[in-house]
Amino acid sequence: MTTLSNLDQVLAMPADTGSRSARMWRKSERYVLPLLALVVLLAAWQAIVDFKVVNPLFIAAPTAIAAEIVKLFGQSVFWVDMKVSGEELVIGLGISIVLGITGGLIYGWYPKIRMALEPIINGWNAMPQIALVPVLILLLGIGIWSKVAMIVLTCGTTFWLNTAAGIESISKNYIRTAKSFCVTDLQIFRWVALPAAFPYMLSALRIGLGRALIAIVVAELYGSQFGIGHLLTVAANNYQSSQEFAALIVITAFGIICNIGMRKVEKWYNAGKQ
């Protein structure tokens, strides 16, 4: 990316000149440099634990965590937790998509409805919805439905607002053009509003996945019988810090994969269209 701070470097760096090794380095440095930083961080972490600067009971060493991840993958209990959390994610996201997109379309399309609901929606969005976990658990128990509800409350908001923003972004030119060709309002909605808002819905899915993972973990930490958050709680209660970090890294890796995957999907869908 070109920013003001590296502008002169960019200008001074012709794309395809220099010796062969210099070109190789320019191609690989974007992978090598972050990897190097990660290795340094992990080595420092390992050293801090090995030299007993912190108690390994509280913070496990990277090597212990890596071993624990391998061990976890071989345990059926771990896969039961993953399955339960996965179900919560899929059901929660499904409901969020249906409710959020429907609500967002209505909210974005009818100015009067938007006018009426705007303060409530904005207030709701400003609230840390995750703080409703205790209420949801009281209402729905410690099974999967309190987690599903938590996902719907957070991700549904993302879908709602993004879809509405997509509708709002439609250029007046497009509506005017469509009207000029005598299509009905329903056709304008179907052939102009929906496709114009669709990239915004894809972004909502990427952002929503991240928010859903947080919702699942926090809700499960607060009260659950299964799930990745439950695994975290059990590990913490038993001073098994290597297991705790292992579970955390598995969730993080899943989040990163989802994010990269969704970015690729967005890039693929939008190719040539902007």
Partner: protein, 280 residues
């Protein structure tokens, strides 16, 4: 110069009688077009030129039915205009192609309001793509095309539903000078091939003369007809007609009128010191 208020021609595709158009700007109601009368005969190509803010685009949008008229009569092919209709189609200035639809699907959009089957729509799209010379680009997205090609698509889309009256709203304004000339020749070719009746709004006086049978000059704020000229060239026209002394003379005559409008309505343009505007 053609006198205004001539007898109504029964072969007229468009009759605008004393048409006024206004719009709300904040709390005020402003008159954009003031009692304009224009006629376009069957197969005729008429242009409207005038300074910025002379309401010529607004007038065109009123003919398309996108803007309601405040007074007067608009009749297209014997029927009073009441909202957009399939008998008219607009080539918009820019950014009106749908970026999420391919070139072919953009042209097809014009046919969605017609009761046509998918097969009929497709064959019409193929016809139009070849008419504007973009057959290989059916599956491309608009952003992958140059500005000139995008306006070809825009033209193809407007022609798709066989409109009785083609309305062109500064279609080449955002193109570079060379592309614009090529597109003007293209438009001439296509209009004679399709026997199009067209009304063009443009800033470019030479464009108006080159393309039209008649040129109507609008005055500014609110828009009104200042003058009307018949273009003394037969069709088909070649690009060399631009060098004809008659062409150059007509161009200068119209420019004098438009220029005077600029001087009347603006203060100190091009470093000149003019009298402040004191109203009509």
């Amino acid at each position: 110069m053609v006198q205004r208020g001539e007898a109504v021609n029964s072969a007229s595709k468009l009759i605008a009688r004393s048409v006024s158009v206004g719009y709300h700007n904040q709390k005020r109601w402003l008159l954009a077009v003031d009692r304009v009368s224009v006629e376009v005969s069957n197969h005729e190509f008429v242009s409207i030129v005038g300074p910025s803010g002379s309401g010529k685009s607004t007038f065109l949008m009123a003919i398309d039915g996108l803007v309601p008229v405040a007074g007067g009569e608009l009749i297209v092919d014997g029927v009073a205009v009441n909202g957009p209709g399939r008998d008219r189609a607009v080539v918009f200035q820019e950014a009106s192609l749908f970026p999420w639809r391919t070139v072919g699907a953009n042209i097809e959009f014009a046919l969605l309001a017609n009761q046509l089957s998918k097969v009929e729509r497709n064959s019409r799209v193929v016809e139009l793509l070849s008419l504007v010379g973009l057959s290989e680009f059916a599956k491309a997205y608009p952003s992958q095309l140059s500005g000139g090609m995008q306006q070809r698509v825009n033209l193809a889309r407007a022609l798709a539903a066989n409109p009785k009256l083609l309305l062109l709203d500064e279609p080449f304004a955002s193109l570079d000078a060379q592309t614009r000339e090529v597109m003007q020749e293209e438009l001439l070719r296509i209009c004679s091939a399709e026997h199009t009746t067209a009304l063009l709004v443009t800033h470019q006086i030479d464009e108006a003369i080159y393309l039209s049978d008649r040129v109507v000059v609008f005055g500014a704020r609110p828009g009104h007809v200042l003058a009307e000229f018949k273009v003394p060239f037969d069709r088909p026209r070649r690009a060399e007609v631009r060098q004809d002394p008659q062409f150059i003379e007509l161009n200068q005559e119209i420019w004098k009128i438009v220029r005077a409008e600029y001087d009347r309505t603006t203060v100190g343009t091009l470093g000149q010191v003019s009298e402040p505007v004191t109203g009509n």
